[in-house]
Amino acid sequence: MANIMIRKGSEGYVFYMPKRDIEDPIVFLEFDSPEKWGGEIRLKNGGVYYIEPQPAPTRLPFSVRARRIDGVE
């Protein structure tokens, strides 16, 4: 589990992990509706992470805990 920050970039969401200084566009977000938001996220660099589904944040950037499922760090 690691803290990540999700912010809005010029093309969709951008993933940022302060601990590892990984900044990468999110190419896939499993749930993206106001009531249910999160789930599996895939990054452009191949990383796959998981956020517990929750109501969508009212404001971005948004810090949240995520679990690494797959991919390089």
Binding site: D21, K44, P61
Partner: protein, 491 residues
């Protein structure tokens, strides 16, 4: 010598790494890449932010250097205590030339060395009492300080002193912020973690101090982040922003004050020059206060014009016009500078090895002078820096991460650049090899290099280094080829 092709560069890397033992060779090979502009991510080509190999000469610093020397040190009305043995504080004192306005020792303190001067007994019995006493003394001797930071050196972490408790107690006693910074030198692999720790301590102890207090805002408030005013850099940047109609609320941290730091959450836009050392706090302010941030580059007229327009695009037409007016005003001046120096510098090749933002930011300035950067590298960058660098550099140029002394020398011997830009540790090695050199950490005691004013100085300095007559006198007289007619004349 013409620029190398991709294959030749690859062969060169291989040849240079040949001397290492196999394990070291494998490791170092991951830190050196040949640039390919089509790449979007540096991840597969270069490894960065890893521990340096034992036995090689690295140019890196430590977490304490990143926190005390870079981020906290330049804040002028805050006293940064180097908590621990005396050496760290003394040898890092005033070395970075972070200029500021004020009377040192009365209301500003950046150039002074405050240290707890740890002795054997402090290591054995702990230094908390000494720290508390030191803070009391500081408060008595320098009452105009606005706050105190405790910058831990290695032993503090090793013996487990509770500087946080002392800081809290003393902060209540003196009624000013006392910030404990856990930047022990052994943390992390380079000064980069020190920047992060310092940013986090500002986030935890400073940034929200004035939340909810009245502040007279304008729609044109900005803050300069990551400009350390080396040789006056931040001033040269600031006047351009003010000229285009913006109000600079805070300078982080060159010539900055604690009040400026605390007022920063009120700005409309954060302008980030050194991405590596201050992106953390910019991201925090974006999340907590909704302040957007952008990176800009004030090296060389091309990049300055680009950056001014980019900054203006966040504001209304008044600022956009202001930006155009500033660019228009300085273009003839810059054209004169380029007309003067470009013929003297055209086509010269440069190799860089610096830290922070310069390995990519100054490329544009060199290009404005008709020079070409054939190799660049960072001491302590992370992969996001290399992502940004790939776009700035030409194809098939060399990029090296945490280069060792040996590698740099070999690369210089093979690539034969006309000028090298790096730090003091490399300077005399390359001077002895007969290569012109400029220190790009401290601008070789010159500066500023930022902004339009800075570019004129930059161009002059590069010309002074490159075209200095001394480089023609490297061959001693007894080895010089004398032609026959001269000999005859002498006879």
């Amino acid at each position: 010598m013409a620029a190398l092709t991709r294959e030749e560069t690859q062969a060169l890397i291989q040849e240079v790494l040949e001397v290492y033992p196999e394990k070291a060779r494998k490791d170092r090979a991951k830190h050196i890449m040949i640039n390919d502009k089509t790449l979007e991510s540096s991840k597969k080509c270069i490894t960065s932010n890893r521990k340096s190999l034992p036995g090689v000469m690295t140019m890196r610093g430590c977490a304490y250097a990143g926190s005390k020397g870079v981020v906290w040190g330049p804040i002028k009305d805050v006293i940064s205590i180097s908590h621990g043995p005396i050496g760290c504080g003394q040898y890092s004192r005033a070395g970075r030339r972070n200029y500021y306005v004020g009377t040192t020792g009365v209301d500003t303190f950046s150039e002074m060395n405050f240290t707890s001067d740890f002795q054997e007994k402090d290591i054995v019995f702990g230094g908390d009492k000494k720290l508390a006493k030191l803070i009391e003394e500081i408060e008595m001797l320098f009452p105009l300080n606005k706050g105190i930071t405790v910058q831990s050196e290695c032993p503090i972490g090793l013996i487990g002193d509770d500087i946080e408790a002392v800081a809290k107690k003393m902060s209540a006693q003196i009624g000013k912020p006392v910030v404990p910074v856990r930047c022990e030198g052994f943390r992390g692999v380079s000064q980069s973690l020190g920047h992060h720790i310092a940013n986090d301590s500002i986030r935890d102890w400073i940034i929200s101090n004035r939340d909810g207090q009245a502040f007279e805002k304008t729609p044109y408030d900005v803050a300069i982040l990551g400009d350390y005013n080396i040789g006056g850099d931040a001033w040269a940047s600031r006047i351009l922003l003010e000229e285009m109609g913006l109000r600079v609320v805070a300078q982080w941290s060159g010539d900055g004050t604690l009040a400026e730091l605390e007022n920063t959450p009120n700005v409309k836009l954060n302008l980030l020059h050194c991405y590596r050392s201050m992106n953390y706090i910019a991201r925090h302010m974006e999340e907590k206060y909704g302040i957007p941030w952008i990176e800009y580059n004030f090296f060389g007229p091309t990049k300055i014009a680009e950056s001014l327009r980019k900054i203006a695009s966040f504001f209304d037409d008044r600022i956009k016009e202001g930006a155009e007016r500033v660019i228009e005003k300085y273009t003839p001046v810059m054209n004169a500078v380029i007309a003067k120096y470009k013929p003297r510098l055209q086509g010269k090749k440069v190799m860089l090895y610096v830290g922070g933002l310069r390995p990519r930011h100054v490329v544009g300035a060199y290009e404005d002078l008709g020079m070409e950067v054939i190799g660049t590298g960072y001491e302590f960058a992370h992969n996001d820096d290399y992502d940004r660098t790939i776009k700035e550099m030409g194809d098939a140029t060399l990029i090296y991460d945490d280069a060792t002394g040996y590698e740099l020398e070999e690369f210089v011997k093979a690539l034969k650049p006309d000028l090298i830009g790096s730090g003091i540790k490399e300077k005399y090695v390359f001077h002895k090899m007969g290569v012109p050199f400029r220190q790009m950490h401290s601008w070789d005691y010159s500066g500023p290099y930022h902004g339009y004013d800075g570019f004129a100085i930059f161009a002059r300095d590069m010309d002074m280094a490159l075209n200095n007559p001394c480089w023609k006198m490297l061959t001693p007289p007894w080895l010089r080829q004398t032609d026959a007619s001269e000999l005859k004349k002498a006879a």
